[in-house]
Point group: C2
Chain length 395, copies 2
C-alpha cells in the first residue's frame, strides 16, 4: 500500500471510530489500515461493534473524502500528520497495547488502544522531543502553591534538557508549559481536540507560544471539539509518551489521577506526586495516590523527578535527535537567526544575535533552544556556534 493510502485510511478510521477504538486498532494490526477501513465499510454483518460507533459519522460524509479534506485543512493551519512508520512516530505510544487491562475499573482505561495517527503543530521533531520527557499535570483549580510548584518543576526540568509534557489546561498544566517556555526549553501539549482550536480558549496565547517553540499534538483531526470523554482518552497518551507522570495537585478521582493510573498500568512509566498540606482539597488526590497506588513516589522538585525517571548517569546524556529537518522547514525567526551567525566557527552570544536580527531577547533564546535541539547550532558557556554540517548557509 502507498503511504498516502495508509495515511488517509488511518485518518478515516480515526474519524469514524474515535481514537483508541479497541476493534479498530486490532483490525489495523491484522489487515493494515486501508483493508481495515474497507472491511468496516463493506461488511455490515461483521464488525457490528465498529459499525455502531461509526453509523452517525458515516451519515455525515464519505470517510476517505473527509480524510482528504482534513489533510488539506491541516496543511493550511501548519499542521502535519504523523503515522507509524514515519521517523517522527513516538514508538513508546505502542506500549498502550500491553497496558494491564485488569488494573482499572474505568472502561476508558480498559478499552483504549494506541493511536492510529497524530496531528502535530510545531517545528520540533516529535519522537526526539518526547524521548526524554516527563508529564507534569494536575488540577485546573490549582492553588497558588500548586501553581508555584508546577512552575518550579517545569522550569527546572526544561532547564536540564527534559521536555515538559502536559495537557494545556488552566492551572497546573498551563503553569508547567509556561515555565518550560520561560526556561527556553521544550514543551509539548497533548490536546483532546483539533490543533486548530486548542482548548481552553483562554490559553490561546499560550498555545501559540507552544506551537512556536514546542509542539501541539492530538489524535483528533482539525475542527474536532474538546468533548468531555476525549480528555480521558487523551490522558493515556500523556502517560504513554513520557517516562513518568508527576501530579502536582489533584482532587480525589480527578483527571490527573486518571492519567497517573494509566502511567501506572504501562510498563516502565514512573508515577510521582508532589505532596502538599493536609487539608488542601487539591492535595487529596496526590496523598491518596501515594497511600494506595503501589510504587508511586513522592517528589519535591526536578532533582527528585530526574532521580526517578533518569537512569544513573543518563541525565547527563545528550538529548536524542530526531530525523534532520531541512532549513526550509524552519520558522522565519529561526531562519533569520541562523543567517545572522558569523561565518567560520566563531562563537556568538544570544544578545548579539538579538541585536543584529531585531528579534527580542526572549524569543531569541527560545529559537536558539530550538536550533540547538534541531542540531543547527551548539550551545556553549554563554554562547552559540554554528554546526558545520547543518547550520552553515547553503552556498
Amino acid at each position: 500500500m502507498s503511504a498516502r493510502a495508509d495515511q488517509l485510511a488511518r485518518i478515516a478510521l480515526n474519524w469514524l471510530l474515535e481514537p483508541g477504538h479497541l476493534i479498530g486498532w486490532e483490525m489495523v494490526q491484522a489487515y493494515g489500515a486501508p483493508e481495515a477501513l474497507w472491511r468496516i465499510l463493506n461488511d455490515p454483518a461483521g464488525h457490528s461493534a465498529t459499525r455502531n460507533t461509526a453509523t452517525a459519522r458515516l451519515a455525515a460524509g464519505d470517510p476517505l473524502q473527509t480524510a482528504e479534506q482534513l489533510l488539506t485543512r491541516a496543511g493550511e493551519i501548519g499542521a502535519r500528520l504523523v503515522v507509524p512508520g514515519d521517523p517522527e512516530w513516538p514508538h513508546q505510544v505502542d506500549d498502550l497495547r500491553t497496558i494491564d487491562l485488569r488494573s482499572s475499573r474505568e472502561r476508558v482505561d480498559r478499552d483504549t488502544r494506541p493511536p492510529l495517527c497524530l496531528w502535530v503543530r510545531g517545528q520540533l521533531p516529535l519522537a526526539a522531543s518526547l524521548a526524554r520527557s516527563v508529564a507534569v499535570v494536575g488540577a485546573r483549580a490549582a492553588t497558588e502553591y500548586g501553581q508555584r510548584m508546577a512552575s518550579e518543576i517545569g522550569f527546572d526540568l526544561a532547564s536540564r534538557g527534559w521536555t515538559v509534557v502536559s495537557g494545556g489546561a488552566f492551572g497546573i498544566d498551563g503553569a508547567a508549559h509556561r515555565a518550560a517556555l520561560r526556561a527556553g526549553g521544550v514543551t509539548v501539549a497533548f490536546l483532546a481536540c483539533g490543533v486548530d482550536r486548542p482548548y481552553p480558549a483562554g490559553n490561546t496565547a499560550l498555545f501559540e507560544q507552544i506551537a512556536g517553540a514546542g509542539l501541539l499534538v492530538t489524535e483528533w483531526p482539525p475542527g474536532a471539539e474538546p468533548l468531555r470523554h476525549r480528555f480521558l482518552v487523551r490522558n493515556r497518551l500523556i502517560a504513554a509518551v513520557t517516562r513518568g507522570t508527576v501530579v502536582v495537585e489533584a482532587a480525589a478521582r480527578s483527571g490527573a489521577i486518571q492519567t497517573l493510573g494509566r502511567a501506572y498500568g504501562i510498563t516502565g512509566r514512573t508515577t510521582m506526586v508532589v505532596p502538599g498540606p493536609v487539608g488542601s482539597a487539591m492535595s487529596v488526590g496526590c496523598h491518596q495516590a501515594l497511600r494506595h497506588q503501589p510504587g508511586t513516589r513522592l517528589v519535591t522538585g526536578a532533582a527528585d523527578i530526574i532521580e526517578e525517571v533518569g537512569a544513573i548517569g543518563e541525565s547527563l546524556a545528550p538529548l536524542p535527535r530526531g530525523p534532520e529537518r531541512d532549513r526550509d522547514a524552519l520558522d522565519t525567526e529561526s531562519a533569520r537567526l541562523l543567517e545572522a551567525f558569523p561565518t567560520g566557527n566563531r562563537e556568538v552570544t544570544a544578545d548579539h544575535l538579538s541585536a543584529s536580527t531585531g528579534i527580542d531577547p526572549r524569543t531569541t533564546l527560545r529559537r536558539l533552544a530550538l536550533l540547538t535541539e534541531l542540531g543547527f547550532v551548539t550551545a556553549r558557556d554563554g554562547g552559540y556556534t554554528l554546526n558545520p554540517r547543518r547550520g552553515s548557509p547553503r552556498r
Copy 2:
C-alpha cells in the same frame, strides 16, 4: 534473688552505666542484675568497657546506697520503679535487643539496648496504657500547620482509644499530648531526665496534667538532668513501646527522624510521616523519609494511622487492661467521682458527676477516662455506669 535486690541492682547499673548500655545489658541477661553489678564492681580486669563508663560515677558514691536513696526519693515524689517481671513491664521494649544493627550509621542507634528499669509517675498501669499506642513526634520549632496537624491527630487517636506517646517537647510533642488530654484520652510522655524535673520547664503545667491523667516515664532516676545525648537514647523507647511512629513535622536529620529510624529498625513497628508543603523546612525530614526509608507511609490523619497500625477489625477491640489497681491507689478526685456514682447499674452523665462532686467538668471527663481505663466504670453513649466487680464501693 529477691525482687528488692534486683530492683536496687538495676537502679545502680543504670546509674553507673547510663541507660541502654550494651555490655551492661548483656551482663544482666547472662548473670542477673545483682551478679552483673557485683562483677562490674569487683573485676577491674574484666569489663573495661563498662568500667570506663562507670569510673566517674563510682567516685561519686556507693551504687547500692545511691539506688536506695533514689528509690526513697521516688516514693516522695509519687513515682514508682517498674522492672522486667513486674506485671506493668511493657514487654515490647525488649524488641530493642533484636534491632538491626547494620541499618544505622549512628552509634547511639547501634549500641543501645533495652532498658533495665523504668521510673513511672501517674496512676495508669504502664503496660496496659502502652498496649495500643502510637508515637506522635516532631519538631520543637513546629509551624502553625504542624501544630494543628499534631493536635488533630493527638485528639482523634485519643478519642478512638489509642494512647498518644510523645517526648514532652515544645512544638509537635506538646501539641499531641495536649490534644490527647483534651480528648479525655491517655497520653504518655517519655522523658530524657528524672520524672521530678521534666524538661522543658516551660511545659511544667503540661507535665503535671500528664502525670494526673496519663503517665510520665523515664529510664533516668530522679534528679537526672536532660543531657543532650540522652534524648537520642530516649527516642529508642518511644519507637519501641508503640506500634508505630508518626513524624508530623521535622527538619532533615532531626531527633524525630532518628526516632523514626529506630522504629524502622524494630520488627513490626510502622513508620509514618505527615506530608506538608514543599518548601517548608519543617516538612523536609518527612518528605525525605518518605522518599528514602523503605516502607514509610504517608498519613493524613488518625484514620490513616489506625489503618496502618491496627490489624483489621482490631481497632474496635477493647483496650487491653493492665493488672487491676486497688481503689486506694486512686487520686482523690477519681475516688470522689467513684463515690458519687449511684448504686445499682444506673447510668450517670459526666455533667451530673461534675455537679455533685464540685470537680470542674474538664477534670471530671479526664478522671472518668482514667476510671474507664482502669476498669472501674464503663463509658456508654453520653453516660457512665459502675462496673459491678470493681467500681462498687466496698461494703
